[in-house]
Symmetry: C2
């Protein structure tokens, strides 16, 4: 819906004219006072014109028996982790009540560079929900990486002039060491709050990051770490995603005193997570179930992110604010029965009215390289072993002898059309008794990761994802037993979240048959190459130890 | 001090280099967590580079035994009410710990128009404290007024492009009635929060004002009124000035839940008030003395206004924030022993280093008209009488018979060089037994107001203020017994706050000798013509009744 003229809003507020939509008789959760007050909410265009008694509209919604809250905000997410395009992601999360999201398209940007950023910005301009696209700050994650793209300060600085903000600044050593390119990025984007990414760093490093414009962090995993960052002025995004589920340990932070510095985020939510547990709504549920004050939780879910990001008219049911509202039977359950976004109810019909989806053909065919064969996956010589931990990003350095109970071959294939290089290393923890897994999702450079008990199955799985333009595959004893094509950059499918969730469930089942006990074997595989998290990683040069 | 380069801040944060200034060993009041934690604060240029233990500097300040708070913010004020120029006002309020202020120069703008706004903006650019100059929205207050200037939307819209915000939108009937000029002003300034002025208006009117961009109000005088406005999303500026002292009735609002929507302001603080009671520091003291939580009060005094106005780096002692700090022995007393603003201590020497004061000669000689004589002040015929209440802006409509115990002649003289018109009316409540008072401060058009028991003394007082280019005067039985020249626009003196306070004390004493029991006779006189507050006013047409 269009922004209404001020005179239209005045006419409705003073009852000279009916609203476009009047949501009548619900209990409005007031995120300022904490009260639940029965009131009508009058909408004109994409705005709330009035909140009060006896407002009527051309279209009237009976909200008796329901509670109204503002829509939810995901303060930090990578849409690519949902394995679907932004249009399909929106369909799933809008139903969950998410009306604002701040995304960092750094996965697709690592594969495709500036066009990836442009694509997300074009999607944002056409989507129903309010998507703020941050500009990736660290592509590639480290200079040594062979990613599909390299985005130095000069390439992204124009987005600062366009009013964009800088996405999570992961290169903490670069900041502390005054790396010129990193400082140039921070300087270019100094007019906007810079997103941080500072797991467990020292107070000195927090001071340094904050002093150059970093204002928030989504990597806290303990209350002590959170309090240190809050004291130094940061806003914290408490995370409940598929990988990082730190929120559980942080619920004691929710208080009236602190909730104006707390937001919620998913960071990485995979499609099974969205379908089975929910999206940001799951975080609200978890926090309230843990005993947190609903006012503090909903402020964090709605109002605080709006204030943090400088969105003056979002996150509150009040006149002049965006007409984004959820109607739900129960605050603690946070399951929206009806969702209004920009003044219109979110329905199949409304979703179908979106402008045509931006062209994504430029992101197809991003898996380069020849047909691979078993010779490409010959075992490396005995040596140090990467120890994978179930459900964690941290890995261990293991001795050859200590790892004999469970050894698999790991391989990383450069797939962006540069060197075609293949690095190999021994991996412990996958528990593979047969077969192989392959993935073109491989943080953050997204080269092709393969792990297997059999070199022949590794070649089979790698060729399977290559054949479908990227994705996940399981091969077992000479057969490809499951495959999820992710043809957009090797990261995203062309289908819906529900379809991706079904495929992921099938893949996990197929992976079980290789013997792996890991709860999310493809997530463990995808993070195997991430070179900025300790202690051992699989790189294009093979085994590498990492310390920060 | 200049903005430091990010690399300088990093070097200090990670202890590679000493700070410019290290304030060591004080107890830092953390406005996020509410803790008082002993820490060093490292300053580089105009910024805080780090807060933590064992920071050292080229210049070290021993803060042991003292508490550190951020500097205070006056969220809404008219500097002209201090009766001195911005440079002189700054000298007084900086000592009181005020480092940020949002001013509306609508008094001088009513006399001198756009050059008045330019003057305040030039002052702001050269002053030490951070002065945000809002653009007056209602000059004159009503279309019927004969002010010195008239500022329609087209004249002020360029300031919106320059990033300015719109000052208190007093014309509530104009908004509700969709007055095109008023709506054009709101539309031009829609990118920034618009200041409100909505004493006691209906919820429908609040909805209408909020829906077109008004975000705050400083006119609440009861908790019920405040809660109504808070529920509808407004931030409230609780006022403790010379006239409006509403804060006393509103202290129960200070809670952790609400304090992120509460600010403090003075609105109008006269020089005697500043010298004797204090400025914004007096509001902090009053609230804490009333039993309010110091965290809630200091948030309202420091952090909430910064967030409301979108100042990302102000109002907190944290890295990256402006180096504005107060060192005080006691939080409840709020008397700063040392004040740091933009990284430098506020001292006589620092004040002397300010750039030359902007030229104000354009604002001299604003009192126009011939020499007045007793014939100009002949009593009006018997009729309705304006009833003045001590210490209030509201007036009463009194019957002629009921007012016989205390009648004075009131006169308002057009003094901007237009008509020279003189309006006369009977006034009750001044208690004058002899003599006359005259003032070129006469809200909001600032025509020359005179009240007296003797027409001859009225002429004498009026000519006395005319002779000095504007100001206040008392005449008694043929002699001018006291006079405070206010030659800048007839509103501000060329001296200091202390000098103005002394002169005002002398004037009040001289006024006592005319018999008036009013606590602030010149304030009562100055508000006698204000045409937007009920119930009876003195206008250029004589007696006028006012209803809203």
């Amino acid at each position: 819906m269009a922004m209404p003229a001020p005179s239209q809003l005045i006419d409705v507020a003073v009852r000279r004219k009916p609203a476009d939509v009047a949501i009548r008789g619900g209990r409005v959760f007031n995120l300022i006072t904490g009260e639940l007050l029965t009131a009508d909410v009058a909408l004109v265009g994409n705005r709330i014109a009035a909140v009060g008694n006896d407002y009527h509209g051309k279209n009237e919604i009976d909200a008796r028996g329901l509670t109204l809250t503002p829509g939810l905000t995901d303060a930090h997410c990578h849409i690519e982790s949902s394995l679907v395009r932004p249009y399909a992601w929106e369909e799933a999360v809008l139903r969950r009540g998410v009306v604002n999201a701040v995304c960092d398209p750094h996965e697709l940007a690592n594969v495709c560079g500036i066009p990836a950023i442009e694509y997300f910005r074009q999607c944002a301009a056409r989507m129903i929900l309010h998507l703020q696209v941050q500009i990736p700050s660290c592509v590639p994650a480290l200079p040594s990486e062979q990613a599909g793209a390299h985005l130095p300060a000069a390439d992204i600085a124009p987005y600062a002039s366009a009013g964009c903000a800088l996405a999570e600044l992961m290169n903490v050593p670069g900041v502390l060491g005054k790396d010129p390119d990193t400082l140039a990025k921070a300087a270019a984007f100094h007019k906007h709050p810079i997103d941080g990414h500072a797991p467990g760093v020292s107070p000195d490093a927090i001071n340094a990051l904050a002093a150059i414009g970093v204002t928030n962090d989504h990597e806290c995993s303990s209350v002590a770490e959170a309090v240190t960052k809050l004291r130094l002025g940061w806003t914290l995004f408490l995370r409940l995603g598929s990988v990082g589920r730190d929120l559980k340990a942080l619920t004691s932070l929710f208080s009236p005193t602190l909730c104006d510095r707390l937001c919620l985020c998913t960071d990485d939510a995979d499609p099974l997570n969205i379908v089975e547990r929910g999206h940001l709504d799951a975080a609200v549920r978890l926090a309230i179930e843990a005993g947190c004050d609903p006012l503090a939780v909903y402020r964090a879910a709605c109002l605080t992110p709006a204030r943090h990001f400088g969105w003056r008219n979002r996150g509150l049911i009040a006149p002049g604010y965006a007409a984004d509202l959820l109607l739900m039977p129960d605050l603690a359950e946070c399951r929206a029965e009806r969702v209004f976004c920009s003044g219109q109810e979110v329905t199949e019909a409304r979703l179908a009215e979106r402008p045509p989806e931006p062209d994504y053909s430029a992101f197809l065919h991003t898996v380069h390289g020849r047909e691979w064969n078993a010779q490409d996956f010959i075992p490396p010589p005995p040596g140090a072993v990467i120890g994978v931990r179930d459900g964690q990003l941290l890995t261990d350095v293991l001795d050859w002898e200590a790892a004999q109970d469970d050894l698999a071959i790991g391989a990383l294939i450069e797939r962006h059309g540069h060197s075609g290089q293949i690095g190999r290393a021994w991996v412990h923890g996958f528990g593979l008794r047969r077969g192989a897994l392959a993935s073109t999702v491989g943080h953050d450079s997204h080269n092709l990761c393969v792990v297997g008990a059999s070199a022949a199955d590794m070649a089979l799985a790698a060729n399977a994802v290559r054949a479908c333009g990227g994705g996940f595959a399981v091969a077992c004893e000479g057969t490809v037993t499951a495959c999820l094509p992710l043809p957009l950059g090797g990261l995203m499918s062309t289908g819906s979240v529900a379809e991706a969730a079904d495929a992921l469930a099938t893949l996990r089942q197929a992976a079980r048959e290789t013997g792996t006990p890991l709860s999310s074997p493809f997530l463990s595989l995808a993070f195997l190459p991430l070179p900025v998290i300790p202690a051992a990683r699989l790189t294009l040069s093979g085994y590498t130890s990492v310390s920060l």
